[in-house]
Amino acid sequence: MDAMIILQMILAGIGGAVLYTLIGIAPGTDETAVLAPVTIALALSGVSPYVILAFFISAIVAKKLTDSIPVAVAGIPGGVMAAPMVEHAMVLKKHGLPDVSIKKMASGSVIGTLVSIPASFLIANAILPYADVISKHAGLIFFLGAVFLALMTNNKILSLLIIVPFAILIQGLRHLYWGLEIVPPETTVFVSFFLGITIGPIVVTLFDLLNKDARKKIPFLGKKEISVKKSDKVKGIPNPFNILTKKESATSALGSLIGSVTFFLSPVGMTVFLGEFLTRHIKDPVKRASRAISTMDGLTNASYISGTLIPLIAIGLPLSPMAIGPAAGLFNAPPVFTPEHNIHHILSMSEIMLATIIGAVIALLITFYITIKFASEICAFVFKYIPHEALIGLFAGLVVMLAFMDAGWINIFGTFLIAFVSGILFRNGVNYGVMFMILYAAPWMLGWF
């Protein structure tokens, strides 16, 4: 590894931190939808894997630091993962303390990052001896993962019943493309199907809007009302350990550690469960809320980082909700990365560690500083100048382009089909995790018949 690569990693880290500081603040941006296409596009355009990893780590750290800002400032989550924190942030906002909640959340995030990186390397090392066994039975494991996640959803029966039909849909399209000689037999269309699942819910919502009957039932709204509170200026360089009380630091470190160990479980589920469990005993509502948000923010950060790093270091297969969703591009972006040849195989453990540390440190330095100093200014900028329509448009554009790239015009329709089916399933209580697991397990499962 030479100085050029390290310089590129640093630049990629800066780019990722700045870009995802802005995206993190934009309300309602789903982690998978905003991180996966960009990572996949970078991988496919031939960027060095070191640079991609540094970019990705910086992007998740930055996004996780900032997606809680709109929660504190305006009470709307900046991402799916920030949703569980709204309730506690509202308690602080009601007591006139939104600044406090931003600082506490951002500091919790820093602790989550600092705890989870070493923890991930330790856990990955512990799993390493079993890696061969695990990857030999990957198809079975993804299938069991789909069953396990299906049992966790709100609609268990549909989630279980849909496993085989959804696998048929995916493999059916692949065999159709092979049969029509649109893609060569050694190419497995993956990226566009993955993105199709991701944008499913939004596609279904859009077509509801175009349906006259359904439109009558949708509530039409005025402008989204957001009140932004001007924050106090902070002097000097903020120190997360001074912002948090000792007890808060300790609980967020503990939460982050547990979040790292449970890397294979749903991060949102763990955040809600542990966030409540670790703070239930506190009576004073303000103290409880500030302990809860610092812990939850640490935990989400930790589960994201460990969910990416542990499978990446130890196995090379996306065996966590995080790896199968937002980080999917690091594991599978054919033809550049495949389950047999991805960042796990290309980089050594110390190289993965180096790229991770570069990405994380840059994101922490830039984003933590910006977050604490200019939280309300950035929020106001994003709310005022970035229309939500443009963000949705950009992701639609990326998905259509990548669909065309995978298998030509027919695949734009194929991806649309997958998106529409996934969206309807999602609306009926089948979550992303189940569908992503099926996507990975499909070739193995159809070997049964």
Binding site: I76, L209, G222, S227, G397
Partner: protein, 78 residues
Amino acid sequence: MDKQEKEFVEVWEDNVKIKDLLIAMLLCIGLSLGGYILAPGEAPQPLIFGLCGGVIGFIISSVLIKPKRKITYLEEEE
């Protein structure tokens, strides 16, 4: 306070106008797919053209379309 017309819908936890959303989607899809197809060189050039097209579409739509958010600033109360 001016009278607000209720003409927006909620998509992905924020309010949008259907017409503006369609404009933004057409712009971004057109420019990214167009960039991909029209790029003159070999791989990975089409992808880079396509990505740039998408970003240009994003910028144009940001200029053309006003966000549907109403921001009120609260002064320091303490």
